[in-house]
Symmetry: C2
């Protein structure tokens, strides 16, 4: 990003970070939810909902921290993920119920939500289930119910990258969240470097049970009955829909369908970017997201 560009709307200094924020536990209904909550400012709290197998440690501080300069951000491990107890639901609806219960447990009546990939689907379901809780939505690399080609990791183009035995830990993310271009791979390296800055109080990595249940939820989410995308048209909240234009995990066609069928959504596509577009362009993404969240316009246009 060039230095002459405008700053995010954020006027407060960054004083808290996902690199250092302590993990907290909320006890509720016999269940324990792991979360991190940091930042301050005049904005509504912003709930972050995470991608397939991701934990609290998979949130890039270059995305969370600038947004925490104007509001509290709340990162959640859904049930059965990271240090949250319970079973991983096998439906998006089940995950949405947990996340709504969690918000209730924190006493949060109104908030904004940023859902990434799987988390965007959970966000859409939460808005359908309890619309009045949500003011504005950010949906990144996600898909509507009835979307197409959602997380088919068995596709040859993805399978060969995931199964490469030289990929370990975060390294696999460099191959599947970014494109093969030198610029995208340089951004991937920087992203993994930022995740690796957190050294203590780490979540356990997700195992096959998390992956299996979440994959079942994707398969169920691809199904639809009745008029396709009809449930999107009743969502009136301003939405910002973001995707890499070369996303092979959840193709941008899904984001186009969301922006066409949501009543009030801006679509942004990032160049030379795959599933991890928000991590490839964190300065641009957080500038757009902050301006979108700062707006009180009835329109999503910002």
């Amino acid at each position: 990003m060039s230095p002459e560009q405008s700053k995010p709307t954020g006027v407060n200094a960054i004083t808290a970070s996902n690199t250092t924020a302590p993990t907290q536990l909320l006890q509720l209904n016999g269940q324990s939810y792991a979360y991190r909550r940091f930042g301050r400012g005049s904005g509504l709290p912003l709930l972050f909902l995470q991608h397939f197998t991701g934990t609290l440690d998979n949130w890039d501080p270059a995305v969370t921290d600038p947004l925490a300069a104007d509001r509290e951000v709340i990162l959640l491990d859904n049930a059965g993920v990271g240090r949250s107890t319970g079973e991983v639901p096998t439906t998006i609806a089940g995950m949405a119920q947990h996340a709504l219960a969690f918000l209730g447990g924190l006493g949060i009546k109104t908030c904004d939500v940023l859902g990434y990939s799987l988390g965007g689907m959970v966000a859409l379901q939460m808005v359908q289930d309890r619309s009045s809780t949500f003011r504005r939505l950010i949906l990144v690399g996600s898909a509507p119910r009835g979307g197409e080609d959602i997380m088919h990791l068995e596709k040859p183009s993805l399978a060969k990258r995931i199964q490469d035995p030289t990929n370990r830990g975060y390294d696999v993310l460099k191959k599947i969240f970014f494109t093969a271009s030198p610029a995208s791979q340089a951004a991937a390296e920087a992203f993994v470097g930022r995740l690796s800055q957190r050294k203590n109080d780490l979540d356990p990595a997700s195992g096959p049970n998390v992956a299996g249940a979440q994959m079942a939820a994707f398969r169920e989410w691809e199904k639809f009955s009745g008029e396709r995308f009809a449930e999107l048209r009743v969502i009136r909240q301003p939405a910002l829909v973001v995707n890499g234009v070369n996303d092979e995990m959840i193709p941008i066609a899904n984001s186009l369908r969301m922006s066409e069928n949501l009543a009030n959504a801006v679509l942004i596509g990032y160049p030379d970017a795959g599933h991890g577009s928000l991590f490839q362009y964190p300065e641009s993404f957080t500038r757009h997201a902050a301006n979108f969240l700062a707006s009180n316009s009835e329109s999503a246009a910002f």
Copy 2:
């Protein structure tokens, strides 16, 4: 737009306007090109290329003037349109030749270009023909060669709005550039009001000969040979691709194809917006466009 949002990068006051800028004529190769040139600042000149049957008077001052706060903007009547002499070419390639000759006649070696609808196609062709002239491209409501459903005014959904005898002059634009929603129609009213502020030194409206030749150019542009969209992949300039998510004249699928196949393009889709998205959200559009143009990053992301 809410007042707390960030301003465009433009730091200079708006001192010139398409409402008042005089029309000039450039004599070149036995031809006369009508144009307006106004604004100042450190940015490269920005060439505006107009939509189907549009003249200099169809450029919304709410779009041209904020961009003229940081650079010269140059609005062109292509050959045979408005007060430019000559025949309207029946191909995009012919229009691109005229526009390149015009830039040469003004002595402009390097510039940015904003092409809207038909003008975006001409811009793409100009970049293919003389890449070194162009630094950054903005393509609004446009389509690549081989695009789909480009300006089929005979479609029932469009034909009934165009042929409504109660529509006169600019009023037809309210029906075809905007959606039927109250918010979009209010924006349409404001748009037409802004166009109507210019009272003198007006272009003649385009007649059937302009429409016929430009329509022939659309039909030729829909054809392709060889690998579809291959010519987009060699364009390296950063591009900003913009469309209304509900555009029936040139559907946003065309903008998606451009952003997927151009090497370096950001896509923005505007909510509840048809073909005239830039006129529906001029504050948002000019803020994004100004930030995009102000960037010197290698990436289109801004």
